[in-house]
């Protein structure tokens, strides 16, 4: 019962936030919408016993990444509205059609409900609890290689971003 209420409530919030991302004129409003969606999803994670992941989602995703987005929007200038002139007019109807098709396809997949092709499942009897311990255990034994790879990736990304920002454009030097 509780789950049902939570589902409908936060599901609606998530969709509202998504629509805000897409349709808001002001980029800051889009960012806000995205934060709303992320928080709703965090609730869903908790409902499904993925506690650690939910925490990480709130702290890292909604907290750090979105903050970064807001910084950039601030830098680029929020009062600049988009150039409203449409350059590729013939794409408009196509977009909506495509959106619907994507939705239809995914739903079809779900309704089909065929899980037999999934490999590598451990087949436990009861739902595992996503506590920090459990995640940590999996992370450092079976999934240690992706773990190390992603940590490398993070370093590279950080260095790359610094490099991009550190060397100003040539045009600026000439000015």
């Amino acid at each position: 019962m509780t789950e049902l209420v939570l589902f409908f409530l936060f599901g609606a919030l998530a969709i509202v936030g998504a629509l805000a991302v897409v349709f808001a004129k002001n980029p800051v409003r889009s960012a806000m919408g995205l934060i709303l969606t992320m928080l709703s999803l965090a609730v869903f994670y908790v409902v499904q016993s993925a506690y650690f992941v939910a925490a990480v989602q709130v702290i890292v995703y909604a907290g750090a990444v979105m903050t970064l987005f807001l910084f950039v929007i601030m830098l680029i200038g929020v009062d600049r509205s988009e150039d409203l002139k449409e350059r590729i007019p013939w794409q408009r109807p196509l977009r909506y059609v495509l959106g619907l098709v994507v939705l239809g396809v995914v739903v079809a997949v779900i309704v089909g409900n065929d899980w037999s092709w999934v490999t590598g499942i451990s087949n436990l009897t009861e739902t595992p609890v996503g506590s920090a311990e459990a995640i940590g255990e999996g992370l450092f034994t079976k999934w240690v290689l992706p773990f190390e790879a992603t940590s490398l990736l993070l370093i590279v990304a950080a260095v790359g971003a610094i490099a991009l920002a550190y060397f100003p454009a040539k045009r600026k030097e000439r000015e």
Binding site: V21, V22, T37, V60
Partner: protein
């Protein structure tokens, strides 16, 4: 009626298609990026739901990695957008069409 994994996945599908629509619609580079983030979140929800369904912790671990990679991607992508913006003073992707044939 109980909320099964299928419900969550439908919700995720809806979020995903909204994000896809957003990419095709918007011209502001930063907003396009946020739509990509939206799609990634939808995928995360799918992973968790599948993990529930198949009773495996792998779903949550996958989410973990998606999160990390998305963060790295955002860092680099936004750095690029800032660098490009410094040159062009506009964030509309339609302006960046020098690679045409």
């Amino acid at each position: 009626m109980t909320v099964t994994a299928g419900w969550y996945m439908t919700l995720a599908a809806v979020l995903f298609s909204i994000g896809a629509l957003g990419i095709l619609m918007r011209r502001n580079a930063v907003v396009m990026f946020m739509c990509i983030e939206l799609m990634l979140n939808a995928v995360n929800l799918t992973f968790i739901a599948a993990g529930q369904e198949l009773r495996d912790l792998t779903g949550q671990l996958a989410v973990f990695f998606v999160l990390v990679v998305a963060a790295a991607e955002v860092v680099v992508g936004l750095a690029i957008i800032v660098a490009v913006f410094r040159n062009r003073k506009t964030a509309s992707v339609d302006e960046f069409n020098e690679l045409k044939g």
